[in-house]
Each structure stands twice: as C-alpha cells, then as structure tokens.
Subunit: 189 residues, 2 copies
C-alpha cells in the first residue's frame, strides 16, 4: 500500500542548511534534521545516502547562492572595480554566514567534494575579471591568485588568526589594491 511522502529532499537540505547556519556543522545531526522536517531520523535515509551526503548537498546549495551573488557583483566596466566588488561581496557573504562559509573551501575526509560544475560556475566571474586584468594567457593563474587570497583572508579573519592588531579592513583594501596592480602589470614574468 503506497504511502504519500511526508517530506522532500528540498526540505531536508533546507533544514540542514538552517542548522549549519545557526549552530555550525556539528549541529547538523540526523535527528535534528528529522525533527525539523517532521519525520524520524531513519526516514531521511530514503532521500540521502548518509550524513556526509547531506552536508555535501548543503555545501552545494551555498555554492549556488555564492555563485549567483558574485555573478551579480561583477558587471561594471573597469576590471579593477570589479575585482574590488567581487572581493567585497565574497567577504560579505562569509561574514553573513560564517558557519556555512567555513565548509566551502576546506577538505573533509568524510564528505566528498562538491560538484565541480558548481565550483566552476561560482568562480567564473572571478575568471572573467582576472582575464581582463591579466590577459587571456594568465587568466587562470591570476584567478587562482585572487581566489586563494580571498579565501585565505576571510578564513583567517573568521578563525581569529589575525592577532597582531592593526586594521583588518585596511589589510583587506591593501590586498585588493596590490592584487589589481600586480595582475595588471602585464603578461611577462
């Protein structure tokens, strides 16, 4: 006798994401997710392979949103302006959802990597800006330099690893300015 579904994968991912946002990834327990979607924990295994699979889906959901945010941020004319907009938007996203951001670019033995298409989509506005700054030949390494700097900066900031005093905002602006100059200084190296 068929029974109608009482929940959906979409609801489950949303519940998982809400739990991560509120209490960090440790708060995403199967029981907490189940309670939020009105079901018992074992039922989740009908839609999700295991907990790490659910965490991956939450990460991919966040990556989709981050990609859309960055896409919207880099549509002005000047590439140096776009670089600043991208970096600022990226940092704003991280500050708004630190627990979620902390999952996006770190390796975790237990969970598989997010879909590479999503990573590519999220990084495409950076790649376009990098190409306009550094030229087509250096677009990829230039984009990686920008992304690495932004990821590391925000991650250290959120981890409280900038402990030598000074103005963190100033260091952020300094980094943007220097990167724009450095990448635009021509294809020879």
């Amino acid at each position: 006798m068929p029974t109608p579904s009482r929940t959906s994968l979409e609801q489950i991912v949303a519940a998982g994401r809400a739990l991560v946002t509120t209490g960090g990834v440790d708060a995403l327990t199967m029981q907490a997710v189940a309670q939020r979607v009105g079901v018992r924990a074992p039922s989740l295994y009908k839609r999700v392979r295991d907990r790490s699979d659910l965490v991956r889906l939450v990460v991919e959901d966040a990556l989709r949103e981050l990609g859309a945010t960055l896409d919207a941020a880099a549509d002005t004319g000047d590439p140096a302006t776009d670089l600043r907009a991208l970096a600022t938007e990226f940092r704003t996203f991280a500050h708004a959802q630190p627990n979620l951001f902390g999952l996006l670019f770190v390796s975790a033995a237990d969970r598989s990597a997010p879909d590479s298409d999503l990573l590519a989509r999220a990084s495409s506005p950076v790649l376009r800006t990098a190409e306009r700054l550094a030229g087509p030949d250096d677009a990829l390494p230039a984009a990686r330099t920008i992304t690495a700097w932004a990821v590391g900066f925000v991650q250290m900031e959120l981890a409280g690893a900038f402990q030598l005093g000074g103005d963190v905002q100033e260091a952020f602006d300094y980094g943007i300015g220097r990167l724009a100059v450095a990448l635009a200084s021509g294809p020879r190296r």
Copy 2:
C-alpha cells in the same frame, strides 16, 4: 595512597597528533588516545579539560613546528627569494601533513583559538620578509596579504577546489612572482 602517573600530557598530545596525522581530526577520539598511551579514556581528563582542549594542544604543537620551519627558511639576503622560500616551505608542510594543516587556520566553534603568542611566532618570519619588501609602514598589511594568499592557495589545493585544469604549480609560482612585484612596488597606494 598516591599512585605514580602512568602517562603524561606530552604523551597524550603526541598520541592525539599521530591520530590526526593518520586519520584526520575525527580519528582523534578519547578512547583511541587512551589506548595509545596505555590508559582508559576517563583518565585523560586528569590532564586535559575535554576533547576540544586536546585538539587545541595538538594544533599548538603543529604551529610550533611550522614556526620553526619557517624561521629556518627565511635567512637569505634577497626578500623576494625569502618570500619564495617561505611560501614553498609552507606548502611543503601542508602537503606533508594535510590533516594537521587543515586544522591550523580554520575556525571551529567547539575549540578555542590557539595561543596568540604561537601564532605571532609562526608569522614573524613572514612579517620580517614583508617589511623588507613593502617597507615598515606597510609591513603588517603586506604580511597579511602574503599569508592569506598562501593559506587560501594551499587549503583550496588540498580541498581539491582547483578544478579548472591548468597547472597548479604554475599558478603557485605565478602568485609568488606577482606578490613579490606588487608588494615591492612602493609605499604609496
């Protein structure tokens, strides 16, 4: 009736670090640590407040080693050469102990931040090199730009987040070269 100690904090931290190195932070369980030092799990609580405290001690142990490694790497004359040596040594450390490295610069809600003195000591060779590249006024933001880039680059690399093909080593060299030029281009901005 006093009983002689059957283990020590030093042994416990070493056991914890070995477990992290081998199987990631999830493999550091109180029971596994206890077994390695020849004791039962509850006894660990005589030396360590709780699991997160032990993880912090392992992180600090790794930071001490990383600091010493970097200190030894940056003693040549040319600051651009030192920058390259520091970045390469940093990356080598991360590749040699990816599970340990993954703990150093990420925030974790459950564990407290490592001792700030250790962070300062580990970053001091970077700060010195940054000062020689960018001048005393910009030493701190320049050091933060270098460190952010290096942390982000290695973390993305280890997370498998560089998925657009291309040569990752080339992107690393490109980043070093551009940073050296950018930071040395003078104090005005």
